[in-house]
């Protein structure tokens, strides 16, 4: 089993397959995830293998999907919901925020909602508007939810399985351009997984924070900076967006006293703000420079011809590093 090379997408399909195979209570629900194998093909072959009672093409109604999945979960099933694109979760926002996130609290632990919501996010597929959202803040401000965003196949598989094992609702994000769509392979062995429960998000590498797919931009920028200027940077990949992995953040900042945050969501009230606040709380006196945010701008994600200008690019990250270090 060692040495297998999987794309993000394959890792996800493998995890889903494994979960469906291991536990009869697991069901997948969503639009076009059955016969069609998902608009990103992440459920390919599963309908054929497990049948339409386990891999269910639902009506086109996100509140219906999330709401009935809550019911399924209340009554012993382990539903995994696919929302086709992150923005299309909005019709089901009430079910998620007012019910999935609160059922355990409301019933004092009597009824939990072990639900996984899987949704692609972020720009990159070059579709029409509302196919490029990155609004993690909405969910990270909702007690009762957990949000994970893996940056690579290994983490994807592990986090997805951990999400399903978690007794509470977990939102699992695939960055779109990591998903295999752009056919980039991650040379990562991916046969086992790490439990998120044990280590909600660590994966440090080498003073800035980023999440999900932004890891690529961050790593590329730091590599270039090292080549050009000889500066070494540590990159923290925040796999878990809520709750945040504070210890890793604080440890890192204490080493260097400087940080740059990279995310593709809008700047204002983006998760970067919370990370800055955590550093302010825990490590202000270590700071040698303001913490910079290189993020998506505070505008709706523009059409794809200029989308890349909206996104934090390697160049913008590099400039951010230079500004932070030269401060």
């Amino acid at each position: 089993m060692m040495g297998k090379n999987l794309t993000m997408l394959q890792a996800i399909t493998e995890a889903l397959d494994q979960m469906l195979g291991n536990d009869d209570r697991v069901m997948i629900l969503g639009e076009d995830i059955g016969v069609n194998g998902g608009v990103f093909r992440s459920t390919e072959g599963l309908y054929e293998k497990y049948g339409n009672d386990r891999v269910v093409d639902t009506p086109l109604a996100e509140s219906g999907i999330i709401g009935s999945a809550i019911g399924l979960a209340l009554n012993g099933m382990l539903p995994i919901v696919e929302i086709q694109f992150l923005a299309f979760i909005y019709p089901g926002f009430e079910q998620l925020v007012s019910h999935a996130a609160r059922m355990r609290y409301r019933t004092r632990g009597q009824f939990g909602v072990p639900l996984v919501i899987r949704t692609p996010y972020g720009a990159g597929i070059r579709g029409p508007e509302l196919h490029s959202e990155s609004v993690e803040t909405f969910f990270a401000h909702t007690p009762g939810l957990k949000v994970v965003a893996p940056s690579n196949p290994y983490d994807a598989k592990g986090l997805l399985i951990s999400a399903l094992e978690d007794p509470d609702p977990v939102i699992f994000w695939n960055r779109l351009n990591c998903i295999g769509l752009l056919r980039k392979k991650f040379p990562t062995k991916c046969t086992e997984y790490q439990s998120v429960k044990q280590k909600w998000s660590r994966r440090k590498r080498s003073d800035h924070f980023c999440m999900g797919a932004m890891l690529r931009e961050a790593l590329n920028a730091t590599k270039k900076i090292e080549a050009e200027k000889g500066w070494k940077c540590e990159v923290v990949d925040l796999r878990t967006l809520y709750p945040l992995d504070r210890d890793t953040i604080v440890q890192s900042i204490k080493k260097t006293g400087r940080a740059l945050i990279v995310h593709e969501a809008h700047k204002t009230a983006g998760l970067g703000a919370e990370i800055i606040s955590i550093i302010n709380d825990e490590a202000l006196i270590y700071l040698k420079a303001p913490i910079k945010r290189v993020t998506g701008f505070d505008v709706p994600v523009p059409p794809f011809t200029i989308e890349d200008h909206y996104l934090p690019t390697v160049d913008r990250v590099k400039q951010g590093i230079v500004e932070t270090i030269s401060f």
């Binding site: 639902t58 009506p59 109604a61 219906g64 709401g67 019911g71 209340l74 099933m77 019933t107 210890d247």
Partner: protein
């Protein structure tokens, strides 16, 4: 008549819902009810019209008339002991409801949502369920919840804003009152779907009001239930108003049951103040569901005599006296069953007094338990956010704990 009303629409291809007939097509009993309805309305300046916004009241299934007469066969279905259970259930609920309003006035519980007038709908539907069935009530359906097994002191705790008021007895499948309108209907689809998958012979029932039918979740729930043929009962108590908004402002449609046709599912309009009719309708819906015939939308026509909640003043938006008086005098669910039971010699004044005394004692005992119940500890707010407490909640709990220990005031 009943057979007509509960006929599967699929066998009636040219009529989308035969409970929606004109008077010309009605059978003998139905015609009687219809004419009776008209008389009632004419006597009183048509207050049902005001409450339910129809020029002519659309047809509904009725078994027990307001005069205490039975116009359908109930043999083999409703026996004396069930009748007495029904009667006592309604009496208990009304006593509880009135007590609660008083407690709110005395400041012993918080804002309260009364249901007096809707006892037949709530008790009748709940009595038709099995112990293992899933129930999804709203804030107004603690009547149904009590009959399904919720303990009275828990209901008090709920309205006292105690965390533990949302817990149901161990093993019961009774969810806390749903506050966001219509959302719980989808949960009843999901749990029923799971029962079906697991081969468990249980139905799920969702309670909701006439106002709830305007929300998108109403539509999505009925549609999903239709697609997956889930054993779900959608039990709408059409009390004519969503707070101040009469049903005629809620929709151009005359009835709620007619919406079943939009999803090719089964729909019934029933006299919600007739506990026999409600019970039979729900029982039949349960049977259909367990036979795999899918969901039923039930519209129970009823009226709450009181305010939307104790924080509401109905006089602002309706002729509260006239309309409540009409319903009390002409349509009361308890009065009509009492009339019948009296006539049949099943019930008398002494029994009534005795039972009422017992109920008052029971309620007082539960109130005492609720009032003596340990107060919610502020630190409890950090529990059950997740199954396992995360670092940030541990710290925040600690923070509040220290603050309180130092004598910090809330």
């Amino acid at each position: 008549m009943k057979q007509h009303l509960i006929t599967d629409i699929k066998t009636n291809k040219n009529i989308l819902g035969c409970y929606f007939m004109t008077v010309q097509n009605l059978g003998k009993f139905a015609k009687q009810i219809y004419l009776k309805g008209r008389n009632e309305m004419e006597k009183t300046g048509n207050p049902i019209m005001k409450a339910h916004s129809s020029e002519v009241e659309p047809e509904m299934f009725r078994v027990l008339t307001p005069d205490g007469e039975i116009i359908e066969t109930i043999d083999g279905k409703i026996d004396k002991s069930l009748m007495l259970k029904m009667y006592e259930s309604m009496l208990l609920l009304r006593t509880f409801d009135r007590k609660s309003i008083n407690l709110q006035r005395q400041g012993r519980i918080g804002t309260y949502a009364p249901f007096e007038g809707q006892e037949a709908s709530q008790a009748g539907s709940a009595l038709a369920l099995a112990a293992g069935d899933w129930m999804f009530p709203t804030y107004r359906d603690h009547g149904a919840a009590i009959i399904h097994g919720q303990e009275l002191y828990r209901v008090f705790l709920y309205w006292m804003a105690h965390f533990d008021g949302s817990i149901c007895p161990e093993g019961k499948r009774l969810l806390p009152p749903s506050v966001p309108i219509a959302t719980q209907m989808l949960h009843a689809v999901g749990t029923a779907w799971a029962s079906k998958i697991k081969g468990e012979k249980n139905v799920s029932i969702a309670y909701f009001g006439d106002g709830a039918t305007s929300e998108g979740d109403f539509h999505e729930a009925l549609n999903f239930a239709g697609v997956y043929k889930t054993p779900t009962i959608f039990f709408c108590q059409n009390n004519g108003y969503a707070i101040s908004v009469p049903f005629e402002k809620q929709s151009a449609s005359k009835t709620i049951s007619q919406r079943a046709a939009a999803y090719d599912i089964h729909g019934v309009r029933v006299d919600g103040n007739d506990i026999f009719a409600v019970w039979m309708t729900v029982k039949e819906a349960v049977e259909r569901a367990l036979k795999g015939e899918g969901p039923t939308l039930i519209e129970a026509i009823t009226f709450r005599y009181g305010a939307h909640t104790t924080a509401d003043n109905p006089n602002i938006y309706r002729d509260q006296d006239e309309i409540s008086t009409f319903w009390r005098e002409n349509r009361d669910p308890i009065t009509r069953l009492r009339k019948y039971l009296n006539k049949e010699g099943h019930w008398n004044e002494e029994q009534e007094e005795l039972v009422l005394k017992q109920f008052n004692e029971l309620i007082d005992a539960h109130l005492k338990k609720a009032e003596g119940y340990p107060k919610s500890d502020p630190l409890e707010m950090f529990n059950h956010v997740y199954a396992e407490e995360s670092w940030h909640l541990k710290e925040q709990k600690q923070e509040l704990n220290q603050f309180l220990k130092k004598g910090g005031k809330k």
